[in-house]
């Protein structure tokens, strides 16, 4: 067992994913260099600080149970799948289905997210998952969202809309914030999208502050702008669909 206080440097070049994860598991805090597509990095791990240079593979931090994973580059698909606790920071963009069914912890992304970010995110008591995306997202943002908080800051500069088609489809819990007036965004019928008031923005000010500290954005400018907040109309829209419950 390596000394927990030392930071081990792991060269991931040509390492197969299970071999790399075995090394990480035996290390304490570590820096992974030359990551290139290895899957499941940090999956199910806790209490470590893992820094990654290069391009980690799919399912980065799946079932993450604590600690920090920080990527200096882009991440691929299914970041933080079913994560339970801890923090994933990506100094770049993330692929599709980020935070799939995550039930705790946080994901901070400097730029854009792909399709289905936050799909089926859920919350329970003190477990409130949070995803903050600096740029824009693809379609089906917050699909089947059942809990937690999704924030999209729209700091992208490519002129594309802040979100693709069909956001919040099947949403039945949690809150979703878009830093936009959302005039051209079509939301489904079962959600309410309204201009965020001061108390709405106050609820997420801590998350925005963290984003600004991590990536160097202007906190005042961000919190001074207009946000749209989306919530489902009922906590249990399927209440009497099958049985009385």
């Amino acid at each position: 067992m390596a000394n927990e206080n030392s930071v081990k440097i792991i060269d991931a070049k040509s390492l197969e994913f299970s071999a790399l994860n075995d090394i990480i598991r035996e290390s304490g805090d570590c820096v992974i260099e030359n990551a290139l597509g290895q899957r499941f990095i940090a999956a199910g791990m806790s209490y470590r600080s893992i820094k990654i240079k290069g391009t980690p593979g799919n399912a980065l931090g799946a079932y993450l149970n604590g600690g920090t994973v920080e990527v200096f580059g882009n991440a691929q698909d299914a970041v933080g799948d079913t994560m339970n606790d801890g923090r994933i920071i990506v100094h770049g963009s993330i692929g599709d289905a980020a935070g799939y069914a995550m039930r705790g912890g946080s994901i901070y992304v400097k730029t854009d997210a792909g399709y289905r970010a936050g799909i089926h995110m859920k919350a329970y008591r003190d477990k409130i998952p949070v995803m903050v995306i600096g740029g824009r997202t693809g379609s089906f943002l917050g699909e089947y969202q059942a809990g937690g908080v999704i924030i999209v800051l729209g700091l992208h500069t490519d002129g594309k809309p802040i979100v693709g088609n069909f956001p919040c489809t099947g949403m039945h819990g949690g809150k979703l914030y878009l830093r936009s007036d959302c005039k051209n965004v079509a939301f489904p019928k079962q959600v309410t999208a309204k201009k965020a008031d001061e108390s709405d923005v106050a609820e997420i000010s801590g998350y925005i502050k963290t984003y600004c500290e991590l990536f160097g954005a202007d906190y005042d400018a961000l919190t001074d702008s207009e946000f749209t907040v989306v919530t489902p109309d009922s906590k249990n829209p399927y209440k009497q669909m099958y049985v009385q419950n």
Partner: protein, 369 residues
């Protein structure tokens, strides 16, 4: 009640983290480069395949025979070859025939005989048929694949070729010595067959004339598409869904004369609700394409790269149920299921992005080859 043998892993006890992989690289200036990079791009995506199929398409590889159709053929054995060559010699003028060079290697086994022929349609037959040379060749390919026992023409374009096998893609690339070919466009595929057998003919790319398709996904609409396309003389003989996309591309592009963008709007048609939001003229056109070619809408998850003479088109299904990213650097454009694959070919990129579902990425080589 069904008894399970003790040594067989049951559902939930084994995980096969696979899902097919595609990759492509093209030079917009038509500069040719070896297959080494594209082979390397498949290595970080190794676990997306399961060793039951890998393949490549390469464009611009036969400059000395660029006016001849390059027929790549699998034979089960020499008696099949004799039968098929009788047909080929009757229907084509063949200027060169040879065994496609391969490496003997332990990773690739049970090889069929692999031949190639540089050929043009036999003059008198062609005249009598009153067909264009392309149509003549397409019909001959369909006849061989459907009617001649143990013979499969798996590539039939000019100055291009498909190379495929049962194995992992990086092994298949070495097996065919693709590092010794130079092309302006390479596409690649690693296969994880889901519903159909993993056999040599079922590996990707699927090619007809100059069109080739590599595909990650599973076509829910396969039978509807197959029934429609078989009305126009195509025959789906290769026991897997992707084949039909190749024929759809050939039908829409070559026979119907649609543009690439229009073809994309047929196979990954936008939702009606999306069409309604478009400007009137565009909406009218999209409504027309969805209505006329409704049987060619391809549903289910897919990311594909269509290769053609002088370019390629990458396309996702409209729901984007498969991942696909695009990278650019100088004259090069790269497409792959994973960013890591692109980084193998080019660590430093000018631009990297994920196209939206149904949004075609079309790259053409500036000068005709």
């Amino acid at each position: 009640m069904q008894e399970y043998p003790n040594n067989l892993a049951r559902e939930g006890e084994i995980r096969i983290p696979s899902g097919c992989a595609i990759s492509a690289a093209i030079s917009r200036t038509g500069r040719k480069f070896s297959g080494e990079g594209i082979i390397g791009s498949m290595i970080p995506m190794h676990d997306r395949s399961n060793g039951l199929g890998g393949g490549f398409a390469a464009y611009g590889i036969y400059p000395d025979y660029k006016d001849y159709y390059a027929l790549h053929v699998f034979y089960d054995d020499n008696s099949c070859r004799t039968d098929c060559e009788k047909f080929l010699f009757e229907h084509f003028e063949i200027v060169r025939s040879e065994i496609i060079p391969t490496r003997k290697m332990p990773e690739i086994t049970d090889c069929p005989l692999i031949w190639r022929y540089f050929a043009v349609p036999e003059h008198n037959r062609l005249m009598a048929s009153q067909l264009t040379p392309d149509e003549f060749v397409a019909r001959c390919v369909t006849r061989v694949n459907a009617e001649i026992r143990g013979s499969y023409v798996f590539s039939s374009g000019k100055n291009m070729g498909a190379f495929k096998a049962v194995g992992f893609p990086e092994d298949v690339g070495r097996f065919y010595k693709l590092d010794e070919y130079e092309a302006y466009l390479w596409t690649a595929h690693g296969r994880y067959p889901t519903n159909t057998p993993g056999w040599w003919g079922g590996a990707h790319p699927f090619a007809l004339l100059n069109y080739s398709i590599v595909h990650n996904g599973e076509i829910s609409s396969y039978d509807a598409n197959r029934r429609f396309i078989e009305m126009f003389g195509y025959k789906c003989t290769l026991q897997t869904d992707t084949e039909v996309i190749t024929y759809i591309a050939d039908y829409l592009l070559r026979k119907q004369g649609l543009t690439l963008e229009e073809t994309a709007s047929v196979i990954a048609a936008p939702f009606w609700s999306t069409i309604e939001k478009k400007p009137p003229e565009e909406a009218e056109k999209l409504r027309f394409l969805r209505t006329v070619y409704s049987s060619l809408l391809v549903t289910g998850p897919f990311s594909i790269v269509l290769g053609f003479e002088g370019g390629m088109m990458a396309l996702n299904d409209r729901l984007k149920l498969r991942s696909m990213v695009v990278g650019e650097r100088d004259d090069m454009v790269y497409v792959a299921s994973e960013e890591a694959a692109i980084r193998v070919m080019e660590p430093e990129l000018d631009r990297l992005y994920a196209p939206a579902g149904g949004e075609p990425v079309i790259v053409r080589v500036k000068e005709e080859m």
